[in-house]
């Protein structure tokens, strides 16, 4: 079942490659939408069939390179299933948004289908090398499709370097295990580096750096803003919504359960890196005049909260199990919430660029009169992103802050100021773009028609925001999936 979900988009991609590029564009996008809907339906079926409790469901294992212990091992649990669902939803939303895509549609669709397979595969992978394979393919797959050479090159080299550090960590784990294996489930139960030590610290350092570059945390985040500015709307939505989650997912799937003693030893480092990312990301976002760069830096801020949560889950003193479980659940919820909300924001900035030609906030003013639906959607997305209750962001951030404060009081209080700074920066953005007298950037020749949202734009954006609102108002349906797995993770970290 899981392999079907993962490889269905790739199969369609191969099929579409055989079609001539001059075929009607609606066929390509329609096929993409159809496969995404089918994938989402299959994911929902997996959700229904998920075994209660903390273990893995729908496991499949096929030996691949037995001499080094590498196998094709996939499975889902409460930590990865929300991310798989998030991926399916986001790619579906991008597929609908792509109905108005003006560029070479065949290459565009096949590339995104390949990326969909890679993203889905990473979240279900239960073998370190399989994880790494999908991790690296996501870098190659994403970077190739964009025209801006310098940003793509920077993105590729920087994140590739991080993935090499990750590979080094994986190899260190492999060499420490007895019998030697790359399988995540076996490594978790074997706990090869129990007791810590220099070797374990090096392994964790390598893995931490590799994941920190992808997340991204300060100071490894400088590749993110240029990558976003040069990307298309759907490209940014996938980058922020899914690719960044690969880093944070690596922390909860690999770093924490396989290296519990070392994680506990250095948990405060994770907390501090998280807090610095929160405050630094928010402050730099406050100073931006380019709306895409601003949202990119808020991604750094939101991912900082995740790191704060997983770090606090490793600090045993000061908090009881309820606090650590809240922090972990909040971290996973933040991954899902940030994916939905920031993807919606990037699709909205794509609309802005499509109508006005620029991302510079100073070029616009008073758009609420001309495009009320766009203004309303942007306002809702902005408030969701700043953590207003009623949306998923608050559910995540409240759990993280409440769960982390007993373990690390002072860092958590500092991180809480982040919600004030993000409120300020989004209000400033709303004021600059939508309020006041009307001003639109000059088009060459005739004045621009600044049309409101079309149906193909409204459906994905509204869908993502509705999902964020449902999670914000009725969070139990998501938390019931995450909580057993986060409880199991907290116990693994504490052993």
């Amino acid at each position: 079942m899981l392999s079907l979900i993962v490889f269905l988009p790739a199969v369609l991609a191969v099929a579409l490659l055989l079609m001539p590029g001059t075929a009607p564009r609606q066929w390509f996008v329609g096929a993409w939408i159809g496969v995404s809907l089918l994938d989402l339906a299959l994911v929902v079926a997996v959700c229904v069939g998920l075994a209660p409790g903390g273990g893995f469901s729908f496991e499949e294992r096929v030996p691949w390179i037995p001499s080094v212990g590498i196998s094709y091992h996939v499975g889902v649990d409460g930590l990865s299933l929300p991310l798989v669902a998030l991926t399916a939803v986001l790619f579906l939303a991008c597929a609908v948004f792509a109905l108005r895509e003006p560029r070479r549609i065949k290459a565009y669709v096949t590339l995104f289908l390949g990326l969909q397979t890679v993203c889905l595969g990473l979240f279900v992978a239960l073998d370190l090398i399989l994880f790494f394979l999908f991790f690296d393919l996501s870098i190659a797959g994403w970077g190739h499709g964009e025209k801006a050479r310098a940003a793509a090159l920077k993105f590729f080299l920087y994140t590739f370097l991080g993935s090499l550090a990750l590979l080094l960590g994986f190899i260190l784990l492999y060499l420490a295990a007895e019998p030697k294996t790359f399988d995540i489930v076996e490594l978790i139960s074997a706990d090869p580096l129990a007791g810590g030590g220099v070797y374990a610290s090096l392994a964790l350092l390598a893995i931490f750096v590799g994941l920190a570059v992808k997340t991204p945390t300060v100071p490894f985040h400088t590749w993110l803003p240029p990558a976003h500015t040069e990307a298309s709307a759907t490209g940014s939505a996938i980058l922020a919504g899914v690719l960044l989650k690969m880093g944070t997912y690596g922390f909860v799937r690999i770093a924490m359960p396989i290296l519990p003693d070392t994680w506990r030893q250095y948990a405060l480092v994770a907390v501090i890196v998280g807090v610095v990312s929160v405050v630094y990301g928010a402050m730099v976002a406050l100073a931006q005049t380019d709306v895409k760069r601003m949202i990119a830096y808020t991604s750094v801020n939101h991912m900082g909260y995740v790191l704060l949560g997983v770090g606090a889950a490793g600090i045993l003193a000061g908090g009881d199990e309820q606090a650590r479980q809240l922090a972990t659940t909040g971290a996973v919820t933040q991954m899902v919430s940030h994916g939905l909300i920031t993807a919606a924001l990037f699709l909205l900035t794509g609309v802005l660029r499509d109508r006005g030609g620029t991302y510079d906030m100073g070029a616009y003013s008073g758009l609420a009169a001309r495009t009320p639906r766009f203004a309303g959607a942007f306002a809702v997305a902005a408030f969701a992103s700043l953590g207003l209750p009623g949306f998923s962001g608050f559910i995540a951030e409240f759990q993280i802050l409440t769960g982390a404060l007993p373990a690390a009081p002072v860092p958590t209080v500092l991180a809480a100021t982040g919600i004030l700074i993000t409120a300020g920066l989004f209000l400033i953005a709303l004021q600059k773009l939508f309020l006041g007298p009307l001003r639109i950037p000059d088009a060459p020749g005739t004045p621009r028609t600044f049309a409101d949202l079309h149906a193909s734009e409204t459906v994905p954006i509204a869908g993502l925001l509705v999902l964020a609102t449902v999670i914000g108002v009725l969070p139990r349906f998501l938390l019931d999936v995450i909580e057993p797995a986060s409880r199991a993770l907290v116990e693994l970290v504490a052993r």
Partner: protein
């Protein structure tokens, strides 16, 4: 079920209207009134039935709603104020939109959740939503930059204070109150219980516009008058006082929190009372008065007088919303809210004038109106905690009499000969929809003083004010009113008081400008240092590669070339003996034999 219906009706109805946008404008006003009446009916039912529900929210933390004595008073107050405001707003053409009515209903739903919440998580959620709705409603005229700026100031100031609530939630968890139930917060372990108390006090003071957060309420007056009546007098700003009243056991447990809260309340009541006296704009006067009157509620909470504070809350809600609606009616009809411009307004529109006077009389604390009774209940509780607090309270009460009399004096002056400067085009009439709420609220403002006769249990007024206290406060109020009536024109507007104690400017200088400067500096650091460091690392790798190519390769290649050159040199050397001359070959052979012989002899 009743509790869920009570919050679901306004929240869902408001959300539906707000999202529908302009398409629903036609039925917005009527639909709003209908929903408001439904909410009021549900509120009255809930106050009688006293339901309690809860549901799972997070791990170990539940979401609970319950209506007890204090909440019953509050839900009826919120329901009533919402209906009054929605009816009034139906009379103003600009406000008959789905956006306005939707946001007002959403706000009402959030306020109802706040006053019925039994756990801190739900309280915080509703608290923040109220703040967002306040932003949306203050900035309703979004074309006006000043309104939007004021909305931002209000939202960000209250959000800063709300950080206290977030910290309090975490501290409660750390202190062992895993359920975050409000009733159990005072059981938290030390030192966390002090953090919890400090956080809750901070959040409450910010939301209630007490010192030092009072300045945001001044800017909030840029919103429409019904918004000022509902949010910024009757309900939202009172939510902070409500929270403190509910948390009186926690304040008493910590020892320091009660006195701090009482003194902040007293100080706000006195200082903001003086600020109100110095105002020349009617809405600003009423806003400063709101801060001061809520100061009384906060003083009551700090002194443990829950009943007095609750009574003050209800009486103030009726009185102040009445005054704001009257001011709004005059603003729409006459186009100005400056006191000088409102001369004779009561003569031109007598119904509004009489209602305004009744409200102002209640605000002044004249017997036997509602605020006189409630203020004395508060002062009786304050007296138990020291004469200084009581005296401060009396001073604040005198100030309230002064500014109430000032406002009434202006509106009852003879009609002016010249046209005053206008702030918006006047309509010249008070529409029919605006009158009923004014009448109802005026009667409530007058009669709510009898409420203590009906409250029992937790809301019984204990300690009850003694007869001499009642007489003293009544005499002070009458004297202050009489003195003001004679000397109004001599009341000046000293700049510190007129400018709301300069707090907004201070907040800008101390908080906003340094934050923006730091943000710019960090952005420059990010672009020029961090990013360039990464690029520099890449460039240095390329130049290291080139250097390696030029020098390293060259040296290694040079070693290989040296071997080749050396071999060639050796070869040249080896050619030297081949001269072709026999005598030299003989000489070479002789030398070689001699060397061989020496070697043989030495080796042997």
């Amino acid at each position: 079920m009743l509790a869920w219906a009570l919050i679901a009706v306004p929240l869902l109805g408001g959300a539906l209207l707000a999202v529908s946008g302009e398409r629903a404008d036609r039925f917005a006003a009527g639909g709003g009134v209908f929903l408001g009446v439904t909410v009021l009916a549900l509120a009255v039912a809930a106050a009688l039935v006293r339901p309690a529900v809860d549901a799972a929210l997070f791990a170990g933390i539940r979401a609970g709603l319950a209506v007890d004595g204090l909440s019953a008073l509050m839900v009826v107050t919120v329901g009533g104020a919402t209906v009054a405001v929605l009816v009034f707003a139906a009379g103003e053409a600009e406000l008959r939109t789905a956006r306005f009515v939707g946001f007002v209903l959403l706000f009402a739903g959030a306020m109802l959740v706040t006053v019925t919440a039994t756990t801190l998580a739900v309280l915080l959620m509703a608290w923040e939503v109220m703040g967002a709705m306040s932003w949306a409603l203050i900035g309703y005229h979004w074309c006006d930059r000043a309104s939007v700026g004021a909305a931002h100031t209000a939202f960000l100031t209250t959000r800063l204070a709300d950080l206290g609530l977030y910290v309090a939630a975490g501290a409660a968890l750390a202190g062992g109150v895993g359920s975050l139930a409000l009733a159990e917060l005072s059981d938290a372990a030390a030192p966390w219980v002090h953090v919890v108390a400090a956080g809750l006090v901070l959040g409450a003071l910010g939301k209630s516009a007490q010192l030092p957060f009072s300045f945001w309420l001044s800017g909030a007056m840029r919103g429409p008058s019904p918004v000022s009546a509902l949010l910024h007098s009757a309900t939202m700003v009172a939510a902070g006082a409500y929270l403190l009243l509910r948390m009186v056991p926690l304040l008493e447990t910590t020892g320091w929190a009660g006195p701090v809260v009482a003194w902040v309340g007293a100080a706000t009541a006195v200082l903001l009372g003086l600020v109100a006296v110095a105002q020349t704009d009617l809405k600003q006067l009423l806003a400063a008065s709101t801060c001061a009157q809520i100061g009384f509620m906060v003083l009551a909470a700090g002194s443990g007088g829950v009943a007095g504070g609750a009574l003050q809350l209800v009486a103030h809600a009726a009185t102040k919303s009445l005054l704001f609606l009257a001011a709004g009616a005059w603003l729409v009809a006459l186009g100005t809210k400056q006191l000088g411009g409102l001369r004779g307004a009561a003569h031109r529109f007598p119904l509004v004038g009489v209602a305004f006077t009744v409200g102002a009389a209640s605000l002044a604390g004249l017997p036997p109106l509602s605020l006189w009774v409630s203020k004395d209940a508060v002062l009786a509780a304050a007296l138990e905690h020291g004469v200084a607090l009581y005296v401060a309270g009396l001073a604040a009460a005198s100030a309230s009499a002064v500014y109430s009399a000032k406002a009434v004096w202006y509106v009852w002056r003879p009609l002016p000969a010249d046209e005053p400067a206008l702030e918006q085009p006047p309509t010249g009439a008070v529409s029919g929809a605006m009158r009923p709420p004014l009448v109802v609220l005026a009667s409530l403002a007058a009669m709510l003083g009898i409420l203590p006769l009906f409250t029992t249990g937790a809301l019984a007024v204990v300690p009850a004010p003694a007869v001499w206290e009642l007489v003293v406060s009544a005499a002070l109020a009458v004297a202050a009113v009489a003195l003001t009536w004679r000397l109004v024109v001599r009341i000046g507007s000293p700049p510190p008081l007129a400018g709301w104690l300069g707090l907004e400017h201070a907040a800008h200088t101390v908080l906003v400008r340094p934050t923006l400067a730091l943000a710019g500096a960090l952005a420059r650091f990010d672009d020029h240092v961090l990013d360039r460091a990464v690029d520099a690392a890449a460039r240095s790798t390329v130049s290291a590669a080139r250097a390696l190519d030029r020098r390293g390769e060259f040296s290694i290649d040079g070693a290989v070339r040296a071997v080749g050159a050396g071999s060639r040199a050796l070869g040249r050397l080896a050619r030297r003996p081949q001269t072709g001359q026999i005598h030299q070959y003989y000489a070479q052979a002789a030398v070689a034999l001699a060397v061989l012989a020496v070697i043989v002899i030495v080796v042997r």
